[in-house]
Symmetry: C2
Subunit: 217 residues, 2 copies
Amino acid sequence: MTPQASTPAYRRLSVEERRSQLLDAALSLFAHRAPEEVSLDDVAEAAGVSRPLVYRYFPGGKQQLYEAALRSAADELRHCFDEPHEGPRLPRLSRALDRYLAFVDQHGAGFSALLQGGSVVETSRTTAIVDGVRRAAAEHILSHLGVAGPGPRLRMTVRMWITAVEAASLIWLDEDEQPPVDELRDWLVEQFVAGLEVTARRDAQTEELVRELAADL
Amino acid sequence: MTPQASTPAYRRLSVEERRSQLLDAALSLFAHRAPEEVSLDDVAEAAGVSRPLVYRYFPGGKQQLYEAALRSAADELRHCFDEPHEGPRLPRLSRALDRYLAFVDQHGAGFSALLQGGSVVETSRTTAIVDGVRRAAAEHILSHLGVAGPGPRLRMTVRMWITAVEAASLIWLDEDEQPPVDELRDWLVEQFVAGLEVTARRDAQTEELVRELAADL
């Protein structure tokens, strides 16, 4: 039985709807398998459409689909940081982390493959997408911290923490999501504050920020 | 003028010497350019030998040479942790960091390309090599800490710190090696201790370790 016959594939979707349907199908496959183990046939089957249709939307084939799926995941990740610039700052960070960890949980293996690279379709372009998310996260956090003109030491501290959060997420997935997500989130926030406190010993701007964060709560 | 004519290339070297000469040449090229921008011709020229000779040693071409250079760099990185298991523990970590940062300084762009991936010759095999160094670093640190049977929270803390150190090294290279290496090293050690202190609030094993480290100095 061909997938087309078994699913309501050819109902009329707008181009945008169809595209996003295919990306969702691809993302859910990448969530469980490494990108090199996913074929366009698999995507067609998961979306319940024909292979030529997948090619029509992604004429560049697997590489193009992978990049589009990556971009779509990157957009979703960026949305984790959509948070009003008001109220105490560390709870804002906690809420962003909750959304981020929900994303990690939802995309599991696909998230790991994405961050760890090592895929045959990995290129400098895909690396740039992942790196763009990291940079966006750093800018978001710095803007939420409300520091005007963050200096190199503060920036380095924030960027180190972001990398450490990624590493922790990968380990967390490896270890069957232990500790529980709430504990992981609180621990990550505490790691953030501790990192700032160390930097504060050498950097007046960070010292001022740490004082503000303590008063903020 | 061909490179062969200009250099004492064809003096007799043992197979091992020749191999290591070619790897050194490759590493120094990778140190200044991304792997995809280095050709076998470049390596032959840098080593002052003919291109066929490079092929004789690395019949798999560029991919094989890149992996061999990566392995050689990985071995060098592992040696950073060669440190007697005696004396106070944090100073041992400082000395390992000094060697690691000297490696980062020496290999510059090659080190960045290596860690950041995004190379066309990046494969799951090269990723595994880099990941192997990270794991070895974690095991070394845990063994130096002298904790019998380190639990998941302590392991996660150490692995997060290793990733954070990598991120800091890349930023440090980007920022013309600011702050000075001694300051960076001390700051990284302090970040390590601060990370352990946060984990100690939830983990008895890490709490005990933090107490020991404080008494150690």
